[in-house]
Amino acid sequence: MLYVLSKITRKYGSRTVLDIPLMEIEKGKIYALLGPNGAGKTTLLNILGFLEVPTTGDILYRSKTVNFSESFLQNLRREVVMIDQHPILFTGTVYKNVEFGLKIRRISQKKRGIIIEETLDLVGMSDFVQAQAHRLSGGETQRVALARALAVSPEVLLCDEPNSNLDVENQTAIINTLKQINEQRKTTIMFTTHYMYQVSSLAHHTFFLDHGKLTATQAESFKLCQ
């Protein structure tokens, strides 16, 4: 198992937003996370992305217990990348945005150029390499954010509603890219969504969250969403 979450809770003040007795995530699979607004989907992704620390419970990642100290989490974050529901791009060109994670990992300039070219090509944004990031449309921003995440070759990709507010063309492009990288690179993917057709066309497994609890199996999830 890639992740094993046991007895995980997350509280904000006295409010419990997440309460998961057990959750297992297998390497190389695509998972859909369904649930109504406020169910705790983003909080769960933040915890899986090591961006948020659970209030109680343990996480095993690659069979090792996660120590929630900053230096430990920072190393884990190099393997897990999360894409926000409304991703934000840094000021500057598309090239500079995709380069960010690679520069941090001290990858040589020559290699960086090759990776950036490849990933932008993968998401169909190679014509925008020198475009100013803040001038891109919503769909283009989402695709550049995906390229920026893929450039660092993550083990796990967490996408918070990757297709929200996108037109059909951009939705299809994103779904196809996610499928492709899962097949080619065996990247584990978890995405949240409200669209059932995405679940059926993309996910190997489905989790359903309601009021912070995993409540249903895949079959039940379909019923609940319908």
Partner: protein, 231 residues
Amino acid sequence: MELLVDSFLSAILLIFSLDTEVLSIVWVSLKVSGISTFFASLMGIPLGFLIAYGSFKGKRILIIFLNTMLALPTVVIGLFVYSFISRRSILGSLDLLYTQKAIVIGQIILILPVVATLTIAAISRIDERYRKTAMTLGANRWQTACVIFREARFGIVAAVIAAFGRVIAEVGISMMLGGNAKGFTRTMTTAMALEYDKGEFILAVALGIILLVLSFGINLIFNFFQGRTRA
């Protein structure tokens, strides 16, 4: 009205004649204000950044304190610094009183809160997603801070410009700690006050015009950077 028009025309001629006294006064003003803005920025930007970026006990109190310091009158700062650098006081042996250094010290105290509070405002306006994005892409704390600093750069430059605008136009500190010595600590504002006392309006009006033009330029740049921040 006639006096004003005559003084204005004579002042314009004085400016375009590149009078050495006018140039000397403008130079002292720009030099002293530039140095104090530089040092205040050197301290105020990191201070503002740490306050805005960090989470610690007493943060709100510190921000309230800095905001209160914004309203500190220049004469109070003058008096305060004077009590430390006058001949008989604790730092009297350093002979700082009535020097440009004394003005710089006072002006730093005046604008440090300006730089810090405007930096806090600039950093606080930065979308939380920048921090999260930098972290998820593997950035450490320092690299994440650099991302936020970079995104807030126009707001921070605007803070520095606003601080410069504040010191170039102040009179209390320059008068009390500089002593208005000709060619040495005489700034545009202290010279204007002196010329007014003497009833000599031409130099005062000439310096007033220069100060207004400078303030206009500063505000123009300030607005430009504020516009970039909003964009």
